[in-house]
């Protein structure tokens, strides 16, 4: 395996149902320490690709290596542990558990990671708070008391709390206004630099590509042409049931 690659996908084939494969990626490599903008509209298999990269799904064929670890061959619990420890994830929405305080949301991320991987540096949290323009007393607030912008910033903080080597961010700005978007992107880059992690940024908004080392279109690496949105959706619905059965 190429130790330098943060993400290394080879001959990967994934299908929820055997008749309609979603992804076929002959090769996709994200070099460690780089920032990559992955463009893909919804329904293009982008979510599936992210779930493959985080080890929540495994491909029917091919290999997926994250940070030098072939995760497609790990056991389910090892994949969960690996994700908790080495990968930070920020989603479009629903990142925080509403009824928990910000502090508890952060602690939850630390709870599932390997204990030895936890950052023992006491200033790290302060550093993250400062970089994200968040005040100390936000820690005591309940997640549902925060504004959308604050929630997304806390989500970034939580994703980085275990000092992951890979940060996956999926449409994080879609709920933000223009001014907030710019600020958010600035903070993201600053933190990427600070923590020296690999950043995979997924969005359909081409205006945000500025500053990325690489801009990749999902359609270029996925050899299965995305058909119309509607069929893709029905495919996913039936697929959900199939995986549920298959996973048991």
């Amino acid at each position: 395996m190429d130790k330098l690659a943060a993400i290394h996908i080879q001959d990967c084939l994934f299908a929820y149902t055997p008749e309609s494969p979603i992804l076929h990626i002959p090769s996709f490599i994200v070099e460690a320490g780089t920032t990559v903008f992955l463009r893909g509209p919804s329904g293009s298999g982008k979510s599936t690709l992210l779930q493959l990269c985080t080890g929540m799904l495994i491909p029917q064929q091919g290999q997926i290596s994250i940070l030098g670890q072939t995760i497609s061959t790990l056991s389910a619990s090892a994949r969960d542990r690996f994700r908790a420890t080495h990968i930070g994830v920020v989603l479009q929405q629903f990142n925080l558990i509403d009824y928990l305080s910000v502090q508890d949301n952060i602690k939850l991320a630390q709870h599932f990671a390997k204990p030895e991987a936890l950052d023992k540096h006491p200033d790290y949290l302060d550093e993250l708070l400062k970089a994200l323009h968040l005040s100390q007393n936000i820690l005591q607030q309940k997640a549902n008391a925060l504004s959308v912008g604050q929630q997304q910033r806390v989500a970034i903080l939580r994703a980085l709390i275990n000092r992951p080597k890979l940060l996956i961010v999926d449409e994080p700005t879609s709920a933000l206004d223009e001014a907030a978007k710019t600020g958010f992107m600035e903070m993201l880059f600053r933190l990427q630099h600070l923590t020296d992690c690999t950043l995979l940024f997924v969005s359909h908004d081409m205006r945000l590509t500025q500053g990325f080392d690489q801009v990749i279109d999902l359609a270029d690496i996925n050899h299965i042409a995305t058909s119309s949105m509607s069929t893709a959706h029905t495919g996913i619905t039936t697929a959900k049931i199939k995986t549920a059965k298959g996973a048991q």
């Binding site: 779930q51 929540m56 690996f82």
Partner: protein, 447 residues
């Protein structure tokens, strides 16, 4: 951490959680109460008589003999001659005998005619003897020794007077007013029917009955008058006249020489005889000898064995009650599972977040189990407190009306097992939402 998430999640769904806790508390309280009363009833039932090897009475069913001679319940039926006692005492294995004669009451309390052998030999609980806490045993035939509850309820003190009523029941028109008794002793509480009994000497009972025959011969108006007089007497107690005079004589309760504890005539009827043996091994052969006696029709029973038989009869109802209580608990647990299952829809998002953070599906499973157990444990705690409180409030009422003597301590082995059982039922019922959560976690998709 998982506990904290569970706690916060429950707090977030306060109203449905509180309702579920409420339903569970009611059902668990019911189960605990049924179980506690069941156990305690058994204990209080079996501790009434101890150290009595054999109960001998006129020929009758063994249950009936036990019920009236020990619990003072049921019909006394026929009686036997006092001479039977002497006959029994001749047997070399017999150590002591207690004659008992029943049939009269005093203001609703059973009157038991006996001899001082009763206070000397009768045992209850784990071979505990009776204790006279105030005064002394019989020295004259017009004296009475009261059980603890009887003394307390009637408000009698030493040297207070009382008259017997013929027959059972608290209202009786036939009062043995011509032969009044005087309280000379009060027994310590035992938690058995002894507490509710007025003990008088057999000689006194005979004298009262003799007087009764005399009264019956006189006119009906005299009876009415006698009843009224008695009532006035009691009224006087309330105003303390009697008490002040009684307190003067507290130090020396002299027996009245007018009523000596004379020899009891052989034909005086008695209801039963409690027998203690020197050699308990002889009990079966003696029982057989008595039951097969051709000359005098007698029954002899082993109280322990008949007590068990009696309990077998009651145990059907006891098990039925317990079964119903369990069903109610199970249905509450199913209610709990339903509540959790209904909450799963709004929690898919929460589960997705936990999965993204690296929570294994088994963690989601345990999260739901922890929540259910938390709810049930809370309900159990509230139940324990409320049942203890309820027992504390009802303790006296149960003792006086049902003769149930309950302890407040709920923590027995079988109660603990029941609580463990409830937790097990909870885990089983919660399997449904927990497995659902597990599957949701497996098929979870990033939005």
């Amino acid at each position: 951490m998982l506990f904290k998430v569970a706690l916060e999640s429950l707090k977030n769904r306060r109203s449905s959680v509180l309702l579920t806790i409420f339903a569970l508390t009611i059902s668990i309280s019911l189960l605990l109460t049924v179980e506690h009363i069941r156990q305690q009833a058994k204990v209080s039932f079996t501790r009434t008589v101890s150290g009595v090897d054999l109960i001998v009475g006129p020929r009758t069913g063994s249950l009936n003999l036990l019920l009236f001679s020990v619990y003072h319940k049921g019909s006394v039926g026929s009686s036997m001659e006092y001479s039977t006692r002497a006959l029994l005492s001749q047997n070399k294995n017999v150590e002591w005998t207690i004659p008992v004669s029943l049939g009269d009451t005093h203001r609703g309390f059973t009157v038991l005619g006996t001899t001082n052998d009763f206070f000397q030999h009768f045992k209850y609980g784990l071979n505990q003897p009776l204790q006279i806490v105030q005064g002394r045993a019989f020295a004259a035939s017009n004296e009475a020794v009261l059980g603890a509850t009887a003394a307390k309820k009637l408000g009698y003190r030493l040297l207070d007077g009382l008259v017997l009523s013929h027959g059972l029941g608290s209202v009786s028109f036939k009062q043995h007013t011509d032969f009044p008794f005087k309280v000379v002793g009060i027994l310590a509480a035992t938690g058995t029917p002894v507490d509710e009994t007025v003990h008088i000497p057999l000689q006194g009972l005979a004298a009262a009955h003799g007087a009764k025959n005399h009264t019956q011969k006189s006119s009906f108006t005299k009876n009415i008058h006698a009843d009224k007089h008695d009532h006035d007497d009691e009224h006087g107690h309330g105003h303390g006249e009697y008490h002040s005079s009684a307190e003067h004589q507290f130090s020396s309760i002299a027996p009245n020489p007018k009523y000596p504890l004379s020899q009891i005539s052989a034909t005086e009827p008695i209801s039963a005889i409690h027998v203690g043996l020197t050699n308990p091994v002889a009990v079966l052969s003696l029982q057989q000898k008595i039951n097969q006696n051709q000359e005098i029709p007698l029954s002899a029973i082993l109280p322990g064995i008949v007590l068990n038989e009696l309990w077998q009869l009651v145990s059907f109802i006891e098990h039925l009650l317990l079964g119903i209580a369990w069903l109610i608990v199970v249905s509450s647990c199913i209610g709990l599972a339903t509540m959790l299952l209904a909450s799963m829809r709004e929690r898919t998002k929460e589960i997705a977040i936990l999965r993204t953070l690296g929570a294994a599906p088994t963690r989601i499973f345990f999260l739901l189990q922890i929540e259910a157990l938390g709810i049930v444990l809370t309900a159990i705690l509230i139940s324990l407190m409320s049942v203890t409180g309820m027992l504390f409030l009802l303790q006296n009422w149960l003792a006086s009306t049902l003769g149930l003597y309950l302890t407040l301590n709920l923590f027995t082995l079988s109660t603990s097992l029941i609580l463990l059982g409830i937790l097990a039922v909870t885990c089983i019922c919660t399997l449904i939402p927990a497995i659902r959560g597990y599957q949701d976690a497996l098929t979870n998709r990033l939005q």
